[in-house]
């Protein structure tokens, strides 16, 4: 009697989990599948089943799948430019914030003064403040110096918004590396820098990669800052997609936007696939320590 009861309970749990996995992933598969169809199928008035079988796509292109949306987005609407811009922005944001972050956090973690509290507070406040509140402050000087709309400006802004968080994360990571490690290196005759170079750098990669992932996500996902600070031709992917929404509805080329959305999601998908463990540990690290 007890056994069948607990069996039933675990079946319930499985059903619940399956429902959640379905809810979490179905929209992505649906949109991915639909992005190879024509608009009449993806937004089907007559029968939703058309989106699965691609009836109208078959009529138009003699095949159930078509890359027309992708071609339109990447070639005609020059989505590749945004893709390149996104790549540049993400690369440099991650690079700069990690360089400053590792050096700064290492110094902080080895200093005796209690910076921790203030660091935490700044990181917290910046996490809480909508980045857009700062943008209003950036705009007038950027207009004055004529550096509005170009990529380097945006990179600097994103790095500085992200920096407190990066510092905080790396700081708690460096504190886990025992002080004895670099002290023993110093005893062996290393200078402070040599100790960092030869002893700390080889063991710091896990934490650096985790932090890098989060800076990447911030730079990649940002909409408010990039939309405000970049001129039209320098747009990264996310503001570009937002701009698509305005223009494509009128032109009836909504499939371009669908294709662009799928293209922008794929890198994230791959990222999660390879770095799942790192992302999870990064998310929980802050929780357990904070």
């Amino acid at each position: 009697m007890i056994k069948s009861n607990s069996n039933r309970f675990s079946i319930l749990i499985y059903i619940f989990i399956i429902i959640w996995v379905f809810l979490a992933s179905f929209p992505f598969f649906w949109t991915f599948w639909g992005s190879f169809k024509v608009e009449l199928d993806f937004f089907s008035i007559s029968n939703w089943y058309n989106a699965v079988t691609g009836k109208n796509t078959l009529d138009t292109y003699n095949s159930q799948f078509t890359g027309a949306g992708y071609e339109g987005a990447w070639v005609q609407e020059e989505f590749w430019k945004s893709f390149v811009n996104s790549a540049i922005v993400c690369f440099f944001v991650v690079l700069t914030s990690l360089t400053i972050g590792t050096l700064g956090a290492y110094a902080l973690s080895r200093s005796n003064y209690k910076y921790t509290f203030w660091l935490l507070i700044t990181a917290l406040i910046f996490r809480a403040m909508p980045p857009i509140t700062l943008v209003a402050g950036y705009l007038p000087p950027f207009f004055d110096w004529n550096i509005w709309g170009i990529l380097p400006t945006t990179i600097i802004v994103l790095v500085s918004i992200n920096q407190p968080f990066t510092l905080w994360m790396l700081h708690s990571f460096f504190q886990n590396i025992p002080k004895e490690l670099d002290e023993s290196a110093k005893v062996d005759g290393c200078s402070q820098f040599q100790a960092f170079r030869h002893v700390i750098i080889p063991v710091m990669w896990p934490g650096v990669i985790t932090t890098g992932l989060f800076s990447f996500l911030l730079a990649y996902n940002d909409f408010a800052v990039t939309a405000m600070l970049l001129s039209d031709e320098n747009r990264t992917m996310i503001p570009k997609i937002a701009a698509f929404l305005g223009t494509t509805y009128t032109e009836g080329n909504i499939m371009f936007a669908v294709a662009a959305v799928v293209s922008a999601t794929v890198p994230l998908f791959i990222l999660v696939m390879f770095f799942q463990k790192k992302i999870v540990s990064g998310l929980t690290q802050g929780a357990v320590k904070g």
Partner: protein, 325 residues
């Protein structure tokens, strides 16, 4: 770093108390063979000079804070006088753009946070009790709604909810009403945004709680079992108290994240029915006019809101810190 963080804040504060100069008008009498006419035109020279001498614009003090677009003190008094009870007061208050945004932001924050805490905990408990091999896959799919760009996630859902999309179709079929559209009604739009918010936020609480569940001491669970506790009692009396610090942490993070809700409104094109504080700033900044001072004022008000929201936590951390010393 300091330059890029504190200067903008100062600049925002400065901007919020200034307003752009009005154009200086001059009246010139133009005489031609058919008579004389008085023409009023903009004195570009003088306007330019004025703008150069005081680039920030006219100093107006707190006027912008009190104008119709923001705190609307005058209107507020009027409404207060005219409304009979508190409900009609709130009703007419929500016609003012700033208060409308505040209402939505607060509603969003305080509905999404508890729902996602509860569901995240349930999913974490569920995943914790299923087969170990399956867990990796479940976690992979669970991460997706959170990792994906908020704007993209909301656009994807928006397309499905569209009356020609699959969820839209399903809902029409369920309610047997072919003209039902989620976008048309304010209540439904709010519900849609909240559902999206929950969907987006669950993974975070799930992952954190799941990690917390791994550290629940086994012997406590066993002794509870011996004492005759069932699964439900185990959760209430052992697991939840153990997770309490994590619950506080997640709540705090989510309060902050939900307070700055912005992308879903753009993604769902819901600005006609729901606006948030961040959206107001974005709207002022964008477009042809770039109303910097209006945006700056909203920014300051938002920052004040964030500080109020966080003040209990900040105080507690400060006390903990002092205590540790």
């Amino acid at each position: 770093m300091l330059i890029f963080i504190f200067l903008p804040i100062i600049s925002v504060v400065l901007q919020s108390v200034h307003t752009p100069h009005e154009n200086i008008l001059i009246t010139v009498e133009n005489c031609d063979p058919f008579g004389c006419k008085k023409v009023t035109s903009i004195d570009h020279e003088a306007t330019k000079n004025l703008n150069q001498s005081e680039p920030l614009g006219k100093f107006v003090g707190l006027d912008i804070y009190f104008d119709r677009g923001h705190l609307a003190i005058e209107k507020l008094k009027l409404i207060w006088k005219n409304s009979e009870n508190i409900f009609s007061f709130i009703q007419s208050l929500s016609d003012l753009p700033f208060y409308k945004a505040v209402f939505f932001t607060l509603t969003f924050t305080f509905t999404v946070t508890p729902i996602m805490l509860l569901l995240g905990l349930l999913i974490a408990l569920g995943v914790n009790s299923i087969n170990k091999r399956l867990r990796g896959i479940v976690i992979f799919f669970s991460l997706l709604p959170m990792i994906v760009t908020p704007l993209i996630g909301s656009i994807i859902l928006f397309w499905m909810i569209d009356s020609r999309g699959i969820i839209g179709n399903l809902i029409q079929w369920l309610f047997d009403d072919p003209n039902l559209s989620l976008k048309a009604s304010t209540t439904l739009t709010w519900i849609m945004l909240i559902v999206y918010g929950v969907w987006h936020a669950i993974p975070f609480s799930f992952i954190v709680f799941y990690a917390g569940l791994q550290t629940v001491p086994k012997d406590q669970l066993e002794s509870a079992k011996i004492d005759g506790a069932n699964k439900f009692e185990e959760v209430i009396y052992i697991i939840i108290p153990h997770l309490m610090p994590l619950i506080t942490f997640v709540t705090l993070m989510q309060l902050m994240d939900n307070f700055r809700v912005f992308e879903p409104i753009v993604g769902f094109s819901a600005e006609a029915h729901a606006t948030s504080l961040s959206w107001i700033i974005f709207n002022d900044l964008g477009g042809e006019t770039r109303q910097l001072s209006a945006a700056a004022t909203s920014s300051i008000l938002t920052i004040i809101g964030v500080i109020i929201l966080l003040s209990p936590v900040l105080l507690r951390t400060w006390r903990d810190f002092k205590f540790k010393k």
